[in-house]
């Protein structure tokens, strides 16, 4: 009998606490936002953070509250944006599909190695050593930091330079952040010109370090009728908004560093 009282007391207190909590969870239940739940179900669930929120639940909650617009989810693409728009009743949401582009063509055929590197297999580590192995100080090191962060298998290293498969790329932007040289940029997938170089060196220096690098000769800028190509800092840049995809700059480029994307 002596040990029964403590057992009873602890048991009763525990039971009481349990019952009170159970009742409280029913009485004080907070209705979850149904729209947020529905939106979360649509989102890909990759929690990549490309939308700028903490993850898919965070983005769904923000959309349900009206703080965020649908269409920020690049992995989901146009499909997800459209479905989210339907739930929110904001009608059709136009979403441009984007993809990441590597702005370098400095493969081992086009550039030389300025040193032998035997350290960590990481672009970030290599770039700390005198800017990396490539003869071009702006160029791709080809050690694959971008490849390691890509969840979609869209990146390959071909002949010492990263190449992105536009079909597989969902534009989550992870590689953009991973590249220590800042060579990867997101751009809309449409018929347009892309400058595959990031060298800001003077033309003469670029000529020496790479066989294909942009030398800032201005031919593309003069050829472009839409005014989409500008050369600044010895490097050509294409404005995706203005580019009509005519392809004249690509033809005019003496280094063949401007390529046309979205042309099947």
């Amino acid at each position: 009998m002596e040990m029964l009282t403590p057992i009873m007391i602890v048991g009763i207190i525990g039971l009481l606490a349990g019952v009170i909590l159970a009742v409280a969870s029913v009485v004080m239940a907070v209705p979850k936002d149904e729209r947020a739940e529905a939106l979360e179900a649509i989102l890909p669930g990759a929690n990549c953070g490309a939308c700028g929120y903490s993850g898919c639940p965070g983005y769904a909650a923000a959309m349900a509250k009206g703080e965020a617009v649908p269409g920020l989810c690049s992995p989901g693409g146009a499909d997800v944006a459209k479905k989210c728009g339907e739930i929110l009743g904001s009608g059709d949401v136009e979403m441009e599909r984007k993809a990441a582009f590597v702005r370098c063509m400095g493969s081992s055929d086009n550039t030389t190695e300025k040193m032998e590197y035997d350290g960590l297999e990481s672009c970030t580590a290599a770039s700390l050593l005198n800017g990396g192995t490539s003869s071009c100080r702006f160029g791709c090191l080809g050690l694959g930091d971008c490849l390691k962060v890509c969840d979609y298998g869209a990146i390959k290293i071909c002949n010492g330079v990263a190449v992105i498969d536009e079909e597989k790329c969902v534009a989550c932007g992870k590689c953009e952040k991973a590249c220590p040289k800042g060579l990867i940029k997101l751009a809309p997938v449409k018929k347009m010109a892309v400058v595959r170089c990031s060298s800001c060196d003077k033309g003469r220096d670029t000529m020496q370090s790479c066989k294909v690098g942009c030398i800032g000769c201005m031919k593309c800028q003069k050829t472009c009728e839409a005014g989409a190509v500008t050369v600044a800092n010895g490097l050509a840049a294409v404005d995706p908004e203005k580019c009509t995809g005519c392809g004249k700059c690509a033809e005019a480029c003496p280094r063949k560093i401007i390529t046309m994307c979205g042309v099947q």
């Binding site: 009282t5 403590p6 007391i9 602890v10 207190i13 525990g14 606490a17 349990g18 009170i20 909590l21 409280a24 969870s25 004080m28 239940a29 907070v30």
Partner: protein, 206 residues
């Protein structure tokens, strides 16, 4: 409530903050003290949650101990029962806050579950009983004031230390000391400085 009583309550309150600070004097609740003191605002949120839970936990455990456990001679069950009660209480508090005070829930929300098994909370509810055993005039009201003072003491310690740590960020610390080592050194110095309060409250409240 006469002047004598008020005076003794103020003494208890000040003693709980300064001379019997749970973090810097009794070294309880070190985990949140080191873990959540990186920024001033998070330190403040955590401390407020701790204060609330300390007061409510004492309000429940004191009667429970005095009117149920003691008459049965079951004082040895206090740790078990208190943990049970505090855990349930924190859970209940979280549910209630979520329903009735969403802004407060959002600011405290992350810290509340962390407090469930915080040893400072358990320490406040248990050590106050020792005081009651030593001094019969130390009753329910005194216990509540003590709990509130302990919470404020936790807040003071957290805010002071968060300030120290924010300043440490800008210092050129020797590499071996970076991170946790320098934090522990700083914590011990803050604790030593709190020893300076010994005897202050006795003089004030005479």
């Amino acid at each position: 409530m006469d002047a004598q009583m008020i005076r003794s309550l103020v003494a208890i309150f000040l003693a709980a903050i300064l001379t019997e600070n749970y973090v810097l004097n009794k070294f309880l609740g070190i985990c949140p003290f080191l873990g959540v003191s990186k920024k001033l605002d998070t330190a403040f949120g955590m401390s407020c949650a701790v204060t609330v839970v300390m007061v409510i936990a004492t309000a429940v455990t004191w009667p429970l101990y005095t009117y149920i456990l003691v008459p049965q001679g079951l004082e040895y069950l206090q740790t078990l029962v208190f943990i049970l009660v505090i855990a349930a209480l924190v859970q209940l508090l979280e549910t209630a806050l979520h329903k009735y005070m969403p802004p407060l829930y959002n600011s405290l929300g992350i810290y509340l579950p962390l407090i469930t098994t915080n040893c400072a909370v358990l320490g406040v509810t248990m050590l106050v009983l020792e005081k009651g055993a030593a001094d019969p005039s130390f009753g329910f009201v005194q216990s509540l004031v003590n709990a509130f003072g302990s919470g404020v003491g936790f807040l003071v310690a957290m805010l002071l230390f968060a300030g120290v740590r924010e300043r440490l960020e800008d210092c050129d610390i020797p590499e071996t000391f970076r991170g946790l080592p320098i934090t522990l050194v700083a914590a011990s110095l803050v604790a030593v400085s709190f020893l300076g309060f010994n005897g202050v409250v006795d003089r004030l409240a005479g």
